[in-house]
Symmetry: C2
C-alpha cells in the first residue's frame, strides 16, 4: 500500500472536468465526474433535517451505483422548495442526456449559498461544456477539484495504491471541498463537506457498512464551526476497471480508502474558514469508542477552546469544561491532558490538578508548542479502553470576517 | 406590579458589599450578600459534569436557605481537585465566622479563570473587610454587582415591586454577571452566569419548582458561545422582612420574579463577549414549548447565524439550516421567518421558498433592519402551538480578541 501523487481520475476508467458556467463571477463552478464503465458504490448524506434539494433528490432515487456526478458550487440549491427539487432533477436529466447514460446512473450535488434558485440556463450550457471537456490526468483532476470549492483556499486531493494478492494494483483517489458549515455527521443512505472517492477496484455488493466505518473515522470526526450543513455528501464509487479479485472484505484495501478519506478530512479542517492551526485531538481511556468520539467532537467544537488555541493560550480549563458538557464518562482523578508528542509532551492536567503554574517555565513551553501550526493534544478520560481522534481548527478574526461578509 | 430603580439590597433586610482583595490587579473581586433574618430559597446549578469546587461544595451541603453569599471573581476555583473543594469550604467557614452565622447558612460562588488555586490568604483578609463594609443602598448594590464581574463591561441589576392583596408591598431584586462561557442549562438542586435574586417576601416552603420555571424562561434561554460553564449558579433568597401573607403560589409575585430574571438574562447577552447586537428570537408554531426552546437555543448558538447578524446579512438559510440540526419538528411548507416587528416586519422565508431576491429593495430593507442593535426574529415552525423565546448575541472580531487573549 503506498501513497501516490494522484487525483480523482488516477484510478482506471475515470474521467473528469471542471468548467465556469457563470454561477460564480469568474472561478470554475461546475464539475463533472464520469466512469467509462458501470459502478458499484455507497453514498452518505447529511443528517440535517433541512436537507438541500440535491440531497432530497439523491435519497429519493435510491440508487447508489453512480457512474457520473454533476456538482456545482456557488449555490447550494438548499431550502428552495419544489422548484429546487425540480432543478436538481433537471441537472441529472441534462447530464444523462449529454453522456448518453440513464438518469438513474447520475449523481447530483450542490454547495454554496443557501436559499437561492439555481440559474438553470447557465447550468444547462455548463453541463454540455463539462461533458465535452471530460479528460483524464492531473489537469482534469485539478479543474474538477477547483470547481467544487466555495470559501476554500486550496483544492483537496488524496490517492493511494494497493497491490492485491494476485498482483493486481488498484487505485483509490478522492477529492473534497469544505471550509465552513463543517460539522458533518453523515449516515450512509440518509453526509457540507462534499467528497468523492473513486477507485478501479472490483466489488460484488454495495459496500455500505464499510463506507460508514470509513466516514465515522474521517469526515465525521472533523469540525470547523459546529454547523452541520444542508448539503453534506460523501460518495464512494468503484468501477472494477483494474480487473483482479473483489475487494469487498479486503482489509488492506479498506485501510487505503480510510487513509484517502482521512487525508481529505484533515485537508478540509486545515483549510477551515479563517483557520491558522490544525488541532489533532486524541481521546483515550474512554468507556468506549462512541464516548471517545463524543468527547472529541464536543471539545474541538468549543468556541472557547478554538479561540484559546488561536491565541496560543494553554487554557486547559476550557478543554475540560467542554469535556464536562459532552456527556462522556470520565474520572477527574485519572484524567490526563497533554500537548505535544514524544520528548516534547507537556502535561497540562493530571492527578486531579493543574500542572502548570501561571507564568512558569512550563507554561511558557506550552505556549511555544501552541504557536505551531499543528497542535497535538491527548486526553485520557481514565475510565476504559475506548479511543477516537477528532480534528478541528482554531477560531480567528478571519473566520468572523469571512462569515460576516459571505453574501456581500 | 412595577419596575423600580433598585438593586440587591432594595428588598428589606438585605445588605451587601464589594471589596478588592487582590485576586484581580485593581478591580473589585469579592462580593458579600447578607440577610438580617433567616431565609428560604432555591438554588440552581450548572449541569456541566465538570462542576467547579464551589458548586460541588454547595450541592454537597444540601441547604438552600442561604442567608449570606460570598462570591469572588477573577478565579473560578474550577478543576482544582480536593484542594479546590477545601478552599470553597474554607470560604464558607470564614464567612460564617465573620458574620456569626452557622456555616450551613453560607453560599459560596466563584467565577473567572479555570484551573488555578484560590489565593486563600487574600480571600481571608477580603472576607473580613467585606463583612465590615456590609451596607444598604444603591452604592452597596453597585459595589457588589461590580465585584462579581469578569469580562463583563457593565453591571447587571433589575428590581420590581408587587403590592399584595393585603396591601403589603414586596420587592424582588437581582444582580447577575456573565459575558462569556454562557450557555446555561441550570437545574434546581443540581445553573457561568451567576445570578442572585433577593426578596423580602414570605414563603412557607422552598420554591424549587417555581424557581426552575423562572430559570427555564430566563437564564436557560440565553446563549453567548455555546459553552456551558463549570460555575453557573442562580440563587433565589427570600427573607420575609416585608411581612404580609406568603407568596408561594402568588402568580403576580412570580411574574415579577420572572421579569427581574428576564431583565438580568437579557443584560447578560447584551453584554456578551464582543457583542454588538442583541438577538431576540421568538419561536412559534412548534409541536410544544420544549421543541420551541430546542429550536431557539440551537439557532442562537450557531456561529454562522451569529456572524451573519454581525455582518447585517439577511442570510436566512443559516437560520433554517440550524433549525434542521436542532431536532425540532417543522413543516417546511408552513415555516415562516420574519425580522422586525409591526409595520417594519419583513418576511425572509415563507410558503416553502425564499422571499427576497438578491440585491432587491426588500433585501436592502432587511439589511437596514439588521443594522440595528436589537434584532427581533420570529420563526413559525408551522406544526403546532408551542412557543418560546431565545436570546443571543452576534459573533464579532472582539469576541475572538477577548478569548484569544484571556489569560495573557
Amino acid at each position: 500500500m503506498k501513497k501516490i501523487n494522484g487525483g480523482i481520475t488516477t484510478p482506471l476508467g475515470w474521467m473528469a472536468s471542471g468548467v465556469h458556467c457563470g454561477i460564480k463571477r469568474e472561478r470554475l463552478d461546475l464539475a463533472l465526474l464520469y466512469s467509462e464503465r458501470p459502478t458499484m458504490g455507497a453514498v452518505a448524506y447529511t443528517q440535517n433535517r433541512m436537507r438541500a434539494a440535491p440531497v432530497e433528490y439523491m435519497v429519493a432515487r435510491k440508487n447508489n451505483d453512480i457512474r457520473a456526478f454533476i456538482i456545482n458550487s456557488g449555490n447550494a440549491n438548499a431550502i428552495t422548495g419544489r422548484q429546487g427539487f425540480e432543478d436538481a432533477q433537471k441537472m441529472a436529466e441534462l447530464t444523462a442526456e449529454a453522456l448518453k447514460l440513464d438518469v438513474s446512473e447520475i449523481g447530483v450535488s450542490s454547495t454554496g449559498i443557501i436559499g437561492r434558485f439555481l440559474p438553470m440556463d447557465k447550468i444547462s450550457t455548463g453541463i454540455t461544456k463539462a461533458a465535452r471537456e471530460l479528460a483524464r490526468g492531473r489537469k482534469a483532476d485539478h479543474r474538477a477539484a477547483q470547481a467544487i470549492l466555495t470559501t476554500d483556499k486550496v483544492i483537496k486531493e488524496a490517492a493511494m495504491q494497493v497491490k492485491l494478492k494476485d498482483g493486481t494494483v488498484v487505485t483509490v483517489a478522492g477529492m473534497a471541498k469544505g471550509s465552513g458549515m463543517i460539522s458533518p455527521s453523515m449516515r450512509v443512505q440518509h453526509a457540507t463537506t462534499l467528497s468523492f472517492i473513486t477507485t478501479d477496484a472490483t466489488f460484488t455488493s454495495p459496500p455500505e457498512e464499510r463506507w460508514q466505518e470509513v466516514i465515522d473515522n474521517s469526515f465525521n470526526v472533523i469540525n470547523v464551526d459546529g454547523d452541520q450543513s444542508t448539503n453534506d455528501i460523501s460518495a464512494f464509487m468503484a468501477n472494477g476497471a483494474s480487473g483482479g479479485p473483489p475487494v469487498d472484505d479486503n482489509d488492506k484495501f479498506w485501510k487505503a480508502v480510510t487513509k484517502v478519506a482521512q487525508s481529505l478530512a484533515k485537508q478540509v479542517v486545515t483549510d477551515g474558514e479563517g483557520a491558522t492551526k490544525l488541532i489533532e485531538l486524541k481521546v483515550i481511556g474512554a468507556k468506549d469508542s462512541a464516548d471517545a468520539r463524543r468527547a472529541g467532537r464536543w471539545i474541538i467544537s468549543s468556541s472557547l477552546v478554538k479561540t484559546a488555541i488561536f491565541g496560543a493560550d494553554p487554557n486547559f480549563g476550557r478543554v475540560l469544561a467542554a469535556l464536562g458538557n459532552s456527556g462522556a464518562d470520565f474520572d477527574i482523578n485519572r484524567v490526563r491532558l497533554t500537548i505535544g508528542t514524544g520528548d516534547k509532551t507537556i502535561a497540562l492536567f493530571e492527578n486531579g490538578r493543574p500542572q502548570l503554574a501561571p507564568c512558569s517555565e512550563g507554561e511558557l513551553a506550552a505556549r511555544k508548542l501552541l504557536s505551531n501550526r499543528r497542535i497535538i493534544m491527548t486526553l485520557d478520560l481514565g475510565v476504559g479502553k475506548g479511543k477516537a481522534e477528532a480534528w478541528g481548527c482554531d477560531l480567528s478574526y478571519e473566520y468572523v470576517k469571512i462569515n460576516a461578509e459571505y453574501t456581500t
